[in-house]
Symmetry: C2
Subunit: 434 residues, 2 copies
């Protein structure tokens, strides 16, 4: 009987491991709660109506279709029994000889899970569609009201957390308001919309060199994003966010401030870090469980300087490859090798024609940084079709300032009358601002 490998999660790490193991004489099952692999670095583009879901997602089955020994299960993992080597799913059970946990992380509210309803985070495609819906509906509601204070709250967008996701979201929302929908409304000027980026630390994009953080900060201001550093969010409700010095009225608050491991990690009885990530050995296996590997965002991989590897796509990809190779080694009686991360650099974008990138001593910013970002992201998009489509859409958006996916879909698309807002009755033309 072939060696059975179960991979939990079809993200960058899990998929890479599956593709590598497809060439070996093992039986692989990839379990994911979604049927698609998601190119997460571009998720903010879906949330801000620049790309369609299908542009950044491909069916996992399709990506491994040519590998007969790889099968895919669409299911939620409810528990893992490391001793019995069994994974329980929402709709079945799987036995394994080797296990790769690549389940990723969720956004975290630092002990305030009740904030989630009023401040959704961005990890999944459904998250992105929900954010898109809220952002677009905010403009619709601003058009509907005659109360200037209510309108200002609809036109204030607060993003909490100035990591790459937060910076990219804030920049894209500002562009959406200032260019894409600039001529679409009659009762207000969408360019009056305010985007506030709130960060508890003392600089944006703190994973980068301070000089690049500073350039990104300046660029955000040029993109009309109001950046509040050293500012903690004390409370979030449906009317806005409480900051230390004032209450900021806003009907659209987005959360990009932190991540934590899924609840599953705490049930395993293994060593975790503060956010629930699973500590791994240098060979990526879990201490005491040589056949269980953890890779990607879910892995806590300590570095000699006391820090740990960051949750980045390249880390996950390289770990997926290493875990697969170590399983192959174990099956054939060879020694496993420790994981060594090859740092090819990091990058982020602020908005139209502005990005930062660093690789070793090299630092790029502005238009050059943005082109580097564009090139790498399109290059790594999975599947030729998506790459071409995304390129074309971006080229078109570049020329026209357009965003093609401005659709409000979902169960309750019609703006609701809320008691807080007076009914708007439409006046004749004289009330129309042009």
């Amino acid at each position: 009987m072939a060696h059975r490998v179960v991979i939990v999660g079809g993200g960058f790490g899990g998929l890479e491991a599956a593709r590598r193991l497809a060439k070996s004489d093992v039986q692989v099952t990839v379990v994911d709660r979604q049927n698609y692999h998601l190119f997460q670095p571009l998720l903010y583009q879906v949330a801000t109506a620049g790309l369609s879901p299908a542009d950044i997602a491909s069916p996992i089955r399709h990506l491994v279709a040519s590998a007969p020994h790889v099968e895919v299960r669409m299911a939620e993992v409810t528990s893992v029994d490391l001793a019995q080597k069994r994974v329980t799913l929402s709709n079945g059970e799987l036995a394994f000889d080797s296990l790769i946990l690549a389940a990723g992380v969720r956004h975290s509210y630092f002990g305030k899970p009740e904030w989630e309803g009023d401040a959704p985070g961005l990890k999944t495609l459904d998250d992105a569609l929900e954010i898109r819906r809220r952002v677009l509906l905010a403009f619709e509601n601003a058009e509907r009201t005659d109360d200037e204070r209510a309108r200002a709250a609809w036109l204030t967008f607060v993003v909490v957390g100035a990591g790459p996701t937060g910076v990219e979201l804030a920049g894209a929302i500002s562009e959406l308001a200032r260019f894409t929908v600039a001529r679409d409304f009659r009762r207000f000027d969408p360019r009056s919309a305010r985007v506030v980026l709130v960060e508890a630390g003392d600089r944006v994009l703190s994973a980068f060199h301070p000089a690049l953080s500073q350039k990104a900060y300046v660029s955000l201001q040029e993109h009309h994003v109001d950046v509040k550093l050293n500012t903690r969010v004390l409370d979030v409700n449906s009317d806005g966010v409480q900051l230390p010095d004032a209450f900021l009225p806003s009907r659209t608050v987005l959360w990009a401030a932190g991540v934590e491991a899924p609840a599953l990690s705490r049930t395993l009885g293994v060593e975790l870090d503060r956010s629930g990530r699973i500590k791994v050995n240098p060979d990526l296996s879990v201490p005491g469980h040589p056949d269980v590997y953890v890779i990607g965002d879910l892995a806590y991989f300590p570095l000699p300087d006391g820090s740990s590897l960051p949750g980045l796509a390249p880390v996950a990809l390289q770990q997926g490859r290493r875990a697969a190779k170590n399983i192959e080694a174990a099956v054939s009686g060879q020694p496993k090798k420790p994981f060594k991360y090859v740092d090819k650099g990091i990058m982020a974008t602020v908005g139209r024609a502005s990005g930062i990138a660093q690789a070793g001593a090299l630092r790029l910013s502005g238009m050059i940084g943005w082109l580097a970002w564009l090139f790498i992201h399109v290059l790594y998009l999975i599947g030729f079709r998506n790459r071409l489509l995304v390129m074309l859409q971006w080229a078109w958006a570049w020329v026209t300032y357009g965003r093609g996916a401005r659709l409000i879909t979902g169960t309750t698309p019609v703006p609701e009358s809320t008691p807080a807002l007076p009914m708007a009755t439409v006046p004749a033309r004289e009330a129309t601002k042009v």
Copy 2:
């Protein structure tokens, strides 16, 4: 004060009227429950994962952005008071001098609304995403079960009604199974999926010449669609459909068998046809209400031969233009003119490289019919960007047999364990069919 025109519905008819009136000295408000105009003839492509929602939809605001006298309200119309000339919305109220009702129709279950849950219809983008979800999940569930009868029910797709939507859906699902996902599963051959098209009448596409219906029938069979003519659906439940001669087990039933006017039409106190469509005068106004016009699918426009104009995009477009012109005439004291439909022909597609088209004495079928269909549909797609993207995706799909939008999104994406299905436990490789 300018003449106030309210247009209910931003489909083909309503949008065309708004664009025409944008050039006149009137104040226009377009009300739609969605924020987008939908290119409905391609909706079946979204339902079968060939196109993304954004490829066939454009924000209504964007389409009228350059018209300062046209404003857009995203709202549901709850009632219309023809005497007081007021429209009540879910979130406000509108007074009008002239009204254009272009609210379209919904699918109808011939007095069996309880069938809707087990047999969704295809009228909106959310309908299409729900159908896509069900079709893709059916394959996932077929992969999960070990019970051959349960699997056969998951792999049987029933489409009720052989009008253009039913024929297009059936053809596309068959292609999806036989080509797109053909290599994606390990425990069954997707090519064994069965697509059954059930029609109460004695031919498919009955709006066409009988010779073309026959060609479409043959083409459907070549596309492995099992067509059952003269067959009434007696009951629908979650296990399948009851036909006169047998019960057909199927977990995916789609409804394309009839339409009816929205409930609103019955509250107006005007003359309706059997399906609730509003009878109009030759100038498209409602008898007794010279300032109220009804256009598109919602209008019942009697023809001299006792029939009425069909619910087609060209009819709606031309009526939108005529209603706009008649409002302009009324405002300037000119006489209104009767609507004259210029029939440019009708067309439908059966699947890859197979379509039918007729215009006057001209009849096309096969590849030529399909190319005509393709050309016209891409030509009429609103917005250059969408046209180019759709062309590119179709060209790519043509070469690769791929369908790029195979994403299962929505609230409950994970296949559920149902009592009717035994749990599947994944065996080792020997159980895997390749």
